[in-house]
């Protein structure tokens, strides 16, 4: 079938699905998600066509001679289209079961499909006009989905998100205007062709604005503050969509503008991106690990992973500006691979959190425990997601982080001293991030799924419905598959890498990843096979050496008191206490201890403990800015007296001023 027909059928499937979601009959509403599945499939084929064939332009819908609604796909769009299709396919399956008994499910289904369509439109936009319309549709649809639960908390979060995302859009509009003024073109291809006319310092302004504008959507620190507000109140499948795909649109924008349209820039662009990425990764995971609310923890961990992706993007930009195109291609491949991987495992984890919240009736880890026995498959998929996100072999996160390490280590081949020092430090930041992430997910999985149930609800937790499990499985299983066979996923993104860096990283040969420049090699499949071989070998050896022994089941060691209770288990808060002490300069914790005595100081009646960390960026960046705006707004309000005569006076003064200066 033609590329165009895939596009058309995809759009039709999603639009019909969106409309039928509004039908009040429950059966039709649920069936609508099957149409979304077909839509994702159509777009998947579209994506495969885009990465193999030459860039394709689609028929134009002209609004006026200036503004036309035009779509165009190239290899980069193709890779993002494939990613969006794979993830939305799984999330739609999950939604079939999950939304069955939800309130406002029709509204949810409608905007769910609109959001997916807008994601496709963003990566397929040919010109600025189309891009901005798609971008705004995405913002509005996601805003409406975030505020779907009509609670005070949700509407505040939604408002905060709407304001933040529009600040980002403002920067994007300005940078588009700058590009238009320098090149006289509205479409990305035309701008790319005419970019030589643009002065270098204006280019740098565009770069900074792109980093701020798209960085707000991507959730870069300190522009991340909407993420921990919006995700926890959004339904889990929406959170998966936003965290897995929508924030990646920010990454897409940065790559599109800074590496495609503008080609390349001075070295400090790349170094800035590496620095911003390292800070986001580190602070993101440090804020994540102390959270006990499962969705909040995952939300902050998204900030971390965007940082990791940007480490790769930054390294690629840095190498490109030094003319080291082969190295640049390795780094970009790492970044794009992590885009796909993060969408997969974060999708699985958010869907998992939805099943847990529904099954155990709470999102707070401190109220869970022992869920693995009650929700075995959800637990298994959650564990697969956790292993991937902690970059543990042989899962996909490990492969993309390994490539990121390799590209950062190749920094020593760069001629500049700064690059030589910055890139290994980026690698050390990645190592630290990985170690904190591992601790965080040991906590998240260990406290929620292992041990004894801490509440009655957790004790009665039920496994999710089959469609929810299939949806999660479709995201979790590829985490292992793409880890074992990275060549498959790499083949989807290498055309884009070639288009952007002019080089093909000679990465894979016979199932082994090899970095050509250094002969560093990795074969996750061989790692797994040898691991399984060794485990089986030792199992047999033990049987032979030790003979058959019996296993006695008994209580856990309780130091002689009789019977441990669930409340004696280690808690999530206690688990991260050492970190709160060690990194107290970052957390700025405060504690509140109220002890009531019967007879001071010997007989304690009750102890009340509260701990809190300082939201650093809110307090020292956002509050001063919003405070300043409020003060200025208060002053401006003096103009608004409500008196008609005064307003007529303003008009008169304006008229006089115009008459004087107009001539």
């Amino acid at each position: 079938m033609e590329t165009e027909q895939y596009l058309l059928s995809g759009i039709i499937f999603f639009v019909v699905s969106a409309l039928s979601a509004l039908v009040p009959a429950k059966k039709i509403r649920t069936t609508a998600y099957f149409l979304s599945l077909l839509g994702s499939l159509s777009f998947l084929f579209l994506g495969f066509n885009l990465i193999t064939a030459a860039p394709a332009s689609f028929p134009v819908l002209a609004v006026s001679s200036y503004f036309e609604f035009a779509l165009r796909g190239d290899a980069l769009s193709g890779f993002f289209v494939i990613t969006i299709s794979l993830i939305t396919f799984a999330i739609s399956i999950y939604s079939i079961g999950f939304t069955r008994d939800m309130a406002r499910a029709g509204f949810l289904g409608f905007f769910y499909n609109i959001l997916i369509l807008s994601l496709y439109a963003v990566v397929l936009s040919e010109n600025l006009f189309t891009f901005l319309i798609a971008w705004e549709t995405m913002a509005i649809a996601s805003y409406l989905l975030v505020t779907i639960e009509r609670t005070e908390k949700a509407s505040r979060a939604g408002l905060f998100y709407a304001v933040m995302t529009h600040i980002g859009t403002a920067f994007i509009i300005v940078l588009f205007f700058l590009l238009y003024r320098a090149t006289g073109k509205m479409d990305f291809e035309g701008m790319k062709a005419g970019i030589a006319a643009m002065p270098a310092d204006i280019k740098s302004v565009v770069f900074v604005f792109a980093l701020i504008g798209f960085g707000t959507k991507a959730g870069l620190i300190p522009l991340h503050t909407w993420i921990p507000r919006a995700y926890p109140v959004a339904p889990p499948q929406v959170a998966a969509l936003m965290s897995g795909l929508m924030v990646k649109m920010g990454i897409y924008g940065i790559i599109r503008i800074c590496m495609d349209v503008m080609g390349q820039g001075p070295e400090w662009w790349g170094i800035t991106v590496i620095a911003v990425g390292a800070v986001s990764a580190l602070l993101g995971i440090l804020y994540a690990i102390i959270e006990n609310e499962l969705k909040l923890f995952l939300a902050y961990s998204s900030v971390e992973n965007i940082g990791i992706i940007l480490l790769g993007v930054g390294a690629s930009m840095m190498f490109k500006s030094s003319g080291l195109y082969a190295l640049s291609s390795v780094a970009l491949a790492a970044a794009l691979f992590h885009v796909l991987n993060h969408a997969l495992f974060k999708g699985a984890l958010f869907l998992g959190s939805g099943s847990i919240i529904r099954g155990a009736g709470t999102g707070n880890m401190e109220r869970m425990g022992g869920l693995l026995k009650r929700m075995p498959y959800t637990g298994l998929f959650f564990l697969a997601g956790a292993l991937s996100i902690c970059a543990l072999p042989p899962f996909n996160g490990f492969v993309s982080e390994w490539l990121t390490y390799q590209s950062l280590l190749l920094g020593y081949q760069s001629p500049s001293i700064t690059a030589k020092i910055v890139s290994p430090l980026g690698g050390a930041a990645l190592a630290l991030t990985g170690a904190i992430a591992a601790a965080g997910f040991v906590k998240a999985f260990g406290i929620s799924f292992l041990g004894m149930p801490r509440t009655a609800e957790a004790k009665d937790a039920r496994e999710g419905s089959p469609s929810m499990l299939i949806g999660m499985g479709l995201l979790a299983v590829p985490c292992l598959l793409f880890g074992l066979f990275p060549g498959l996923a790499l083949s989807w993104l290498l055309p884009a890498v070639f288009a952007l860096t002019g080089a093909f990283p000679a990465l894979e040969s016979h199932g082994v990843l090899v970095i050509g420049q250094t002969s560093a090699a990795l074969s996750p499949a061989a790692l797994l096979i040898t691991m399984i071989f060794m485990a089986v070998a030792v199992l047999l050896a033990i049987r032979i050496m030790g003979g058959k022994r019996k296993t006695v089941y008994a209580d856990s060691w309780d130091c002689g008191i009789r019977g441990l209770t669930p409340r004696m288990q280690y808690t999530a808060t206690a688990f991260t206490k050492p970190l709160r002490i060690i990194y107290k300069r970052i957390y700025l914790p405060s504690r509140d201890l109220k002890v009531r005595y019967v007879l001071k100081p010997f007989f304690v009646k009750s102890i009340q403990y509260g701990g809190e960390i300082t939201p650093f960026f809110e307090r020292y960046l956002y509050e001063p800015v919003t405070g300043f705006i409020n003060v200025v707004a208060g002053k401006v309000r003096l103009l608004q007296s409500g008196s008609l005569q005064l307003y007529l006076g303003y008009i008169l003064i304006t008229l006089i001023v115009l008459l004087i200066f107009g001539t």
Binding site: P424, A521, M534, I542, K550, Q569
Partner: protein, 305 residues
Amino acid sequence: MHNFQFLIIILFSPLVNGLIKKLKASMQGRVGPGVFQPYYDLLRLLKKDMVVSTVTSWIFKATPYIVFAATVVAALIVPVVSTLSSFSITGDVIALIYLFALARFFMALAGLDAGTGFGGEGSSREMTVAILVEPMMMLALFTAAISAGSTNLVRIATVQSVNFSPSHLLALSAFLVAIIAETGRVPVDNPDTHLELTMIHEGMILEYSGRYLALMEWGHFIKQMVLFTLAVDIFFPAGMVQASGGVTVAAAAGIYALKMLGMAVLMALVESTRAKVRFFQLPSILGSAFVLAFLSLVTHIMMEK
């Protein structure tokens, strides 16, 4: 034959541990158990019945095998007496560190699985120590990798025969601190105690008994010897069987034994002369090792010009 050199690590790792204990005992004026005691312990554990907590899930039972297998695969990657191993395509030094991370991840989960305070405390502390150690160890390894031009261990061990440049000495000292922390030795952890308030590694595996405990202990011995081998591979790889000749296998084995003896003496010395520090003093020790690793990187880049 070169592909079977990992068996040296698997078979002799308990001996290295026994040796360290014996050396420590004689430095402290005790007789101490014989050097083969770890083997007797492992055999005894293998022949025992097991007690498993009813609270635990399959994670608890799978963990010993995952830990052991991951550690053994790490031993496969590292060149022991010869650089002619074909396992260098399986993974590099980064894969090796992450295999240990995989083992640690499951060990920490198993610590939480029984729902006891000790397990949770051990897990929490182990992961915290890993957070402090990992970036420092990686940075030290990066310096070595950058100077050899690759993270491929065979390549690192082939390129230079003795690495005693200032930057390598700095990296080596940072890496030795990392080894002490990773193997749970004084001053970071005390491998000989079951005292509740001080234990890290022992707390995590407290619920294990019988053959599971044997696997965990053996895995720990293997990890220790892999780290020792990694240190000698990177910093003084002289005397290995190389493609370009090098020394004979017998000579290489003898030299390797001497190197391991050296590492054992060093560990025994550190453990005998240092006291275990408070947990929250660890950041300053490990943080200064991070500074060493960073200086080693800067020195390398500055001197290379």
